[in-house]
C-alpha cells in the first residue's frame, strides 16, 4: 500500500477523534434535516387533506353560467390518475302534498365526496352515521329542520319539480357545507343523475355545475395546466388555499414548517462546519508529514477530496438510517393524534436538502483550510510563524457564507425568510466581534488566583479565540431555537385569538327590518345575546371613476368579488378587528363615502378618492372611497367588503339584517322553534366549520410542538458537539492544572463559571438576534405585530448558562476521576 493510501485509509481515520466528531455531525445534520423535511412534507399533505374535506375534494371547478362542465374534462383528469365527481346546485321548490318550501338542492354523483365524509341519520331520532357517498337515484336526504318544518319522516316522498323522490335519510352535515351568506334555503341532497328528470333546470336557470377532483398534488397541477387555456371567465378553479377561513391558518402553518426546516438546515450546517473545521485545522501535522514524504500538493488535495467524499457518503447513509425510523415513529404519532391512518411514504425530493446540507457544509468548511495547507512548505506547516496564522481565512469565511446562504435559499426560496435569518446571524456575529473586543479590553487586567470567579474570567480571556467561536456557535444555535419558539408562541396566540371559545357559530340572515326586535327578543328570552346587527344590501360594483368595472379591470385578473353580488352595509363604528390602512373612518354626521376592504382595493387598484358606482336592483349610487381597511376574514363574524356611513344613500334602499351569535351544542333545539316562528329568517350553522378549524389548529399546534422539540434536541446536540470539539484541549488543561496542584472544587467551579458566563452571553446575544429575526419574519411573513417577548428573553440566557455550565462540568469528568498522570499520558 502506498503511503498516501495508507494515510488516507478510512479505517485508520475512523480511529481519529476528530473524524468521529465530523461523522457524528454529518449523521446528525442529515438526520435532523431529513426528519424535519419529511415530517413537514407529510404534515402538509395531511393538513391539506384534512382541510380538503371543506371542498369535498382537493380542487373544485365551478361553472356559474348554467352550462354543464364538459365530461371530456373529467375524462382527461381521470386519464391523469385523478378521481372525479360532479355536483349540480340550484334552488327550487320542494313540495309535499300541499306544503311548499324553497330549498337549496345539491345533486351529487356516485363518487361524491372525494374528500371528507357525509354525516347522516337513517331516522330523525337515529344515530349519526358517517358515510362516504350521497343518496342513490330515486332517493333524497333532507336537512333535519326541513323535515320538522314540513313534518316529514324517513320513508315519505317529496316532489322536486316533476320528479317524486323517497326520503331515505336525514342529511346532518355535508363536508363542503361552506360558508356562504347567499342562498340559504334548507339543504336537500339528491343524486346528480336524477336532475334531468325533475325538469327544473331550464335554459337560463340559476344553476351551478361543479366538478370535483382529487389526487396527487403534481397530477392536479399538471391537469390544471392542461385545463387553464380551456377555461372561460365564468369558470372558477378553487383549491382549499382559496378558502378564506382556513387558508390563512394553513399558510402560516406551512410557513412555520418552512421556517423550522430552514432553521434545521442552518443548525446542521453549523454542526458540520464546526466539526469539519476542527478536523481540517487538526490535519496540519498529517499534511506536513505527507509533504516530507514527498507527496505533491495535487495528490494531497486529491487524497483529502476523496476522503471527504467517503465520509460524506458514510455520513449521509448513517443520517438516513437514523432519520427513517424516527420519521416512521413520528408518523405513527401523527396517526394517533389524528385518529386515522397516515400512510408512510418517503418523498425522495424532501431528502435532497438534507443531503445537500451535509455535503456542502462538509466541503465548504473542511476543504478550504486543507487546500491552503497544501501550498505551504512543510516546515512552515509544522511550525507557524507568529502572526501569519489566519491571514487568509477571510476567503474561507466568504465561501462559508455563500454556502450557508445558498443552502437556506435552496431550501426555503423565500427572500424574507433567508434575509431575516441570515441578517439576524450577521447582526449577531457583528455584536459578538464587538463583545470580543470589549472582553480583551476589560479582562486583560484580571489576573487569576485561588478564586474561581477570577480563574473563570482569566479562562475566558485566555481562550478568547476558542471562547468567542464557541459563544458564536451557541448564540447562533440559541438564536435559531428561540426564533422558532417565538414564532410558535405568537402563531398559537394568533390562532387562539382568531377563534376563541364561544366564537359566534350561527348566523341569522335575512332578518326583515321590522322583525329585528322580535328576533333579538326571542334569543334574549333563551339567554343568548346576539352580536352586533348589521344591515345588508346586495349590490354589484359596476363603475370605477365613471368607467365600467369590466373595462377598468382586465379579464385576466379575475377578481372574485366582481363575479357576484356584494354584501353592502352601513355602520357607525369600525368593527374591533378591522384596521384602517389608508384614509379615515367616517366622522360623526358624515353621510358620504365608502370604506373598502384592503385586499379588494389592491386587486382593483383603488385609492382613497376614487369614485365607486354600485348597482342595487334598479338603483345606482356613487360614493368616493374614504378609507381602506383590513378585515379578519377568518374571524367568523359578519365581514363586509364595502361599508357605508349611516344615514347615507344606502340607508334608503331595502335592506335586511344579519347577525351572529354563539349557540352551544346542547341548545341547538332552540333553532327548531326559531325557524317555526321566523320562517323567513335564514339560519347559517357554522358550528361544525369552527369545530373543524379548531381541530385543524390543534393538529397544527401539535405538529409545531413536535418540530420545535426536534429542533431543540438538535440544538443541544450541536452545543454538545461544539463543546466536544475542544474536549481534548480542555481535558489536558484540566489534567495539567491538577498536576500543578489545582484543587478539584476550584477546577469544577471555575470551569462551570467560565462556561456559564459564556452561556449567558451566548443566550443574551442569541435572544436579541432572534427578536430581530422575528421582528422581520413577523412583519413580513406571518402578518402579526411585533412585541418584546420577555417570557422568552429572560429565561433563555439563564437556561443556556446552566446548560453550558453542565456541559463544562461533564467534559471535566475524566479529569476528576482519573489520576492526572494517566490522563496526561492518554492525551499525549
Amino acid at each position: 500500500m502506498s503511503a498516501s493510501k495508507k494515510l488516507g485509509s478510512v479505517a485508520r481515520d475512523w480511529r481519529e477523534r476528530d473524524v468521529k466528531v465530523v461523522l457524528s455531525a454529518l449523521v446528525i445534520a442529515v438526520a435532523t434535516v431529513a426528519i424535519i423535511a419529511l415530517f413537514a412534507n407529510q404534515l402538509q399533505r395531511t393538513l391539506v387533506t384534512s382541510a380538503s374535506s371543506f371542498l369535498a375534494a382537493d380542487r373544485q371547478l365551478e361553472a356559474e353560467h348554467g352550462k354543464p362542465i364538459p365530461q371530456a374534462w373529467r375524462d382527461e383528469a381521470e386519464s391523469r390518475g385523478l378521481r372525479t365527481a360532479r355536483m349540480v346546485e340550484f334552488s327550487t321548490m320542494l313540495s309535499h302534498g300541499e306544503q311548499f318550501q324553497l330549498v337549496s338542492i345539491k345533486a351529487v354523483s356516485d363518487a361524491y365526496p372525494l374528500r371528507g365524509q357525509v354525516e347522516f341519520q337513517s331516522a330523525l331520532e337515529g344515530e349519526r352515521e358517517i358515510l362516504e357517498h350521497g343518496p342513490r337515484q330515486g332517493e333524497v336526504w333532507l336537512n333535519p329542520r326541513l323535515m320538522r318544518l314540513l313534518e316529514l319522516d324517513v320513508g315519505d316522498t317529496v316532489e322536486v319539480g316533476t320528479l317524486t323522490l323517497r326520503i331515505s335519510g336525514v342529511l346532518v352535515r355535508e363536508p363542503d357545507g361552506g360558508f356562504n351568506l347567499a342562498g340559504l334555503a334548507p339543504r336537500v341532497m339528491m343524486h346528480a343523475d336524477d336532475v334531468a328528470a325533475t325538469d327544473v333546470i331550464q335554459e337560463g336557470s340559476r344553476v351551478e355545475y361543479i366538478s370535483l377532483f382529487a389526487g396527487e398534488e403534481e397530477a392536479l397541477e399538471n391537469f390544471y395546466r392542461w385545463l387553464k387555456p380551456r377555461l372561460e371567465p365564468s369558470h372558477e378553479w378553487e383549491s382549499i388555499r382559496d378558502g378564506e377561513a382556513l387558508s390563512e391558518s394553513l399558510q402560516r402553518a406551512e410557513r412555520f414548517l418552512l421556517l423550522g426546516g430552514s432553521i434545521a438546515v442552518l443548525l446542521a450546517a453549523v454542526a458540520v462546519a464546526v466539526a469539519s473545521r476542527q478536523y481540517a485545522v487538526g490535519q496540519r501535522d498529517t499534511v506536513a508529514l505527507l509533504k516530507t514524504l514527498g507527496l505533491s500538493s495535487t495528490r494531497i488535495g486529491r487524497m483529502y477530496l476523496w476522503r471527504l467524499s467517503i465520509w460524506g457518503l458514510v455520513g449521509m447513509a448513517g443520517g438516513l438510517l437514523v432519520a427513517l425510523p424516527v420519521f416512521a415513529f413520528l408518523n405513527s404519532l401523527v396517526a394517533e393524534v389524528l385518529e386515522r391512518e397516515v400512510p408512510f411514504s418517503v418523498e425522495v425530493g424532501a431528502l435532497a436538502p438534507a443531503l445537500a446540507t451535509a455535503i456542502i457544509s462538509l466541503f465548504a468548511f473542511a476543504y478550504p483550510p486543507i487546500r491552503r495547507l497544501r501550498h505551504v512548505p512543510a516546515m512552515r506547516v509544522l511550525r507557524s510563524q507568529p502572526g501569519e496564522a489566519d491571514s487568509r481565512a477571510w476567503t474561507d469565511i466568504v465561501i462559508a457564507v455563500v454556502a450557508i446562504f445558498g443552502l437556506v435559499w435552496l431550501y426555503a426560496r423565500e427572500v424574507v425568510l433567508v434575509v431575516a435569518l441570515i441578517g439576524g446571524l450577521a447582526a449577531l456575529l457583528a455584536t459578538l466581534a464587538l463583545i470580543g473586543w470589549l472582553m480583551v479590553i476589560a479582562l486583560r487586567r484580571v489576573s487569576g488566583g485561588g478564586n474561581a470567579w477570577r480563574l473563570a474570567l482569566v479562562g475566558l480571556y485566555r481562550h478568547r479565540r476558542a471562547s468567542l467561536s464557541q459563544i458564536a456557535v451557541f448564540a447562533m444555535t440559541l438564536m435559531l431555537a428561540s426564533t422558532l419558539i417565538l414564532v410558535r408562541s405568537s402563531l398559537l396566540a394568533d390562532w387562539q385569538a382568531q377563534l376563541p371559545e364561544q366564537t359566534p357559530n350561527h348566523f341569522l340572515i335575512n332578518i326583515a327590518p321590522k322583525t329585528v326586535d322580535e328576533v333579538e327578543g326571542f334569543w334574549e328570552q333563551r339567554g343568548q345575546s346576539l352580536d352586533a346587527l348589521y344591515p345588508m344590501v346586495r349590490g354589484r360594483l359596476t363603475e370605477i371613476n365613471g368607467k365600467p368595472v369590466r373595462q377598468v379591470v382586465s379579464k385576466d385578473d379575475s377578481v372574485n368579488a366582481l363575479n357576484r353580488e356584494l354584501n353592502l352595509t352601513w355602520m357607525e363604528a369600525l368593527p374591533q378587528d378591522n384596521r384602517i390602512v389608508e384614509g379615515k373612518w367616517f366622522e360623526e354626521d358624515q353621510t358620504e363615502g365608502v370604506s373598502v376592504e384592503a385586499e379588494l382595493a389592491a386587486e382593483l387598484g383603488l385609492e382613497v378618492g376614487d369614485r365607486l358606482g354600485f348597482t342595487i336592483g334598479s338603483e345606482t349610487i356613487t360614493e368616493p372611497v374614504t378609507s381602506i381597511r383590513t378585515v379578519q376574514w377568518e374571524s367568523m363574524k359578519p365581514n363586509f367588503y364595502m361599508a357605508f356611513p349611516p344615514g347615507g344613500a344606502l340607508e334608503g334602499l331595502p335592506a335586511t339584517w344579519i347577525t351572529s351569535f354563539y349557540l352551544p351544542e346542547d341548545r341547538k333545539s332552540a333553532l327548531n322553534d326559531f325557524t317555526r316562528q321566523f320562517p323567513t329568517v335564514s339560519v347559517l350553522e357554522v358550528d361544525h366549520i369552527i369545530e373543524r378549524i379548531q381541530e385543524i389548529v390543534r393538529q397544527v399546534t401539535q405538529a409545531i410542538e413536535a418540530i420545535l422539540a426536534l429542533i431543540l434536541a438538535a440544538s443541544l446536540v450541536v452545543m454538545a458537539a461544539v463543546v466536544s470539539a475542544t474536549l481534548k484541549d480542555r481535558q489536558r488543561e484540566g489534567a495539567l492544572l491538577r498536576t500543578l496542584g489545582g484543587r478539584r472544587s476550584l477546577l469544577v467551579r471555575s470551569t462551570m463559571l467560565e462556561f456559564g458566563v459564556a452561556g449567558v452571553l451566548a443566550g443574551l446575544l442569541g435572544v436579541a438576534a432572534a427578536e430581530a429575526a422575528v421582528w422581520a419574519l413577523q412583519y413580513r411573513m406571518f402578518g402579526g405585530e411585533f412585541r418584546w417577548h420577555w417570557e422568552v428573553v429572560l429565561p433563555i440566557p439563564l437556561i443556556s448558562g446552566v446548560i453550558l455550565a453542565l456541559l463544562g462540568r461533564w467534559q471535566l469528568r475524566p479529569v476528576l476521576s482519573v489520576s492526572p498522570m494517566l490522563l496526561l499520558r492518554r492525551l499525549e
Binding site: N451, D729, L737, L740, R744, S819, L822
Partner: protein
C-alpha cells in the same frame, strides 16, 4: 527561600521517604506488577536520577513519588506528609505549594502564550503579581523576547524552557522531571540540562528525574536503577 525547613543545614534530613512501594494494574484476569517493593530515601537538595530500560517502571515511580497517582501498596512520605494516604485535594494542595514538574513532552497548553503558561501555577496558588514573576522567570530561561508566543511558534528546546520556567514558578522544594531531554537533540538537551541544574542550584530544590540520558544521569548526585519494577543496586554518581 521561605521554608525554614529547607536549606543546607537540613541536608541530611530526608525530604522523600518511600517504603515498600508496589504498583499493580489489572489487565482482565491478569495482574501486572509494575513496581515491586521499592524503598528509598531522598535528602533535601539532592539530585537523583532514576534510570532503567523502557517499561521498567520509571515513570510510574515518578508519578507515585509526586502524588499524581496512588500506589497499590506501600507508602510515600513527602516532607513528612503521607502522600498516598492524602485525599486527592490534599495531594493537589501539596503539589501546588511544594512540587514542580517537567515532562518529556513539555505539556504546555497550546492555546496559551508562553507567559500565560508560566502564570498558570502562580494563579492557582493565588500568587500576587503572577505576571511579573512569570516574566522574570522567562527572562531567566532566556525567553524574555518570546513572552507572547504560543507553543506552536516555539522550538522544542524553547518549549521545554517555558516548561522549566513554569516548574520553578511556584518555588517548589522538590522538582520531578520525566525525561526532560527525551524529545530534544543533543545540543538542545545539553542546554536544557544546564538550565535545570543551574536553577536547581540557585533555588536549592531537590531534583528527581527519570532519564535515559547518560550524561544527565551522570550529573546527578545519585543514580537509582530500576529493573522490571525493582530497585537495583544504588550507585553514587558524580561527587
Amino acid at each position: 527561600m521561605t521554608d525554614p525547613a529547607s536549606g543546607p543545614e537540613n541536608v541530611s534530613e530526608p525530604i522523600l521517604k518511600v517504603s515498600n512501594l508496589t504498583q499493580r494494574v489489572n489487565l482482565g484476569n491478569d495482574t501486572l506488577t509494575i513496581l515491586q517493593g521499592v524503598s528509598l530515601e531522598i535528602k533535601r537538595g539532592e539530585s537523583v536520577a532514576i534510570v532503567g530500560r523502557s517499561g521498567s517502571g520509571k515513570t510510574t515511580l515518578l508519578g507515585l513519588l509526586a502524588g499524581l497517582d496512588t500506589p497499590s501498596d506501600g507508602e510515600v512520605m513527602l516532607e513528612g506528609n503521607p502522600v498516598s494516604r492524602l485525599s486527592e485535594d490534599e495531594r493537589a494542595a501539596l503539589r501546588a505549594r511544594r512540587v514542580g514538574f517537567v515532562f518529556q513532552s513539555f505539556q504546555l497548553l497550546p492555546s496559551l502564550t508562553a507567559l500565560e503558561n508560566v502564570m498558570l501555577p502562580l494563579e492557582l496558588g493565588d500568587y500576587p503579581d503572577a505576571g511579573r514573576r512569570a516574566k522574570e522567570l522567562l527572562e531567566r530561561v532566556g525567553l524574555g523576547d518570546r513572552l507572547r508566543h504560543t507553543p506552536r511558534q516555539l522550538s522544542g528546546g524553547e518549549q521545554q524552557r517555558v516548561a522549566i520556567a513554569r516548574a520553578f514558578a511556584s518555588e517548589p522544594v522538590i522538582l520531578f522531571a520525566d525525561e526532560p531531554t527525551g524529545n530534544l537533540d543533543n545540543q538542545t538537551g545539553q542546554e536544557i540540562q544546564d538550565l535545570l541544574m543551574a536553577l536547581n542550584q540557585e533555588q536549592g530544590t531537590t531534583l528527581v528525574m527519570v532519564t535515559h540520558d547518560e550524561t544527565l544521569a551522570a550529573r546527578c548526585e545519585r543514580r537509582l536503577t530500576l529493573e522490571s519494577g525493582r530497585l537495583g543496586k544504588e550507585q553514587e554518581a558524580a561527587a
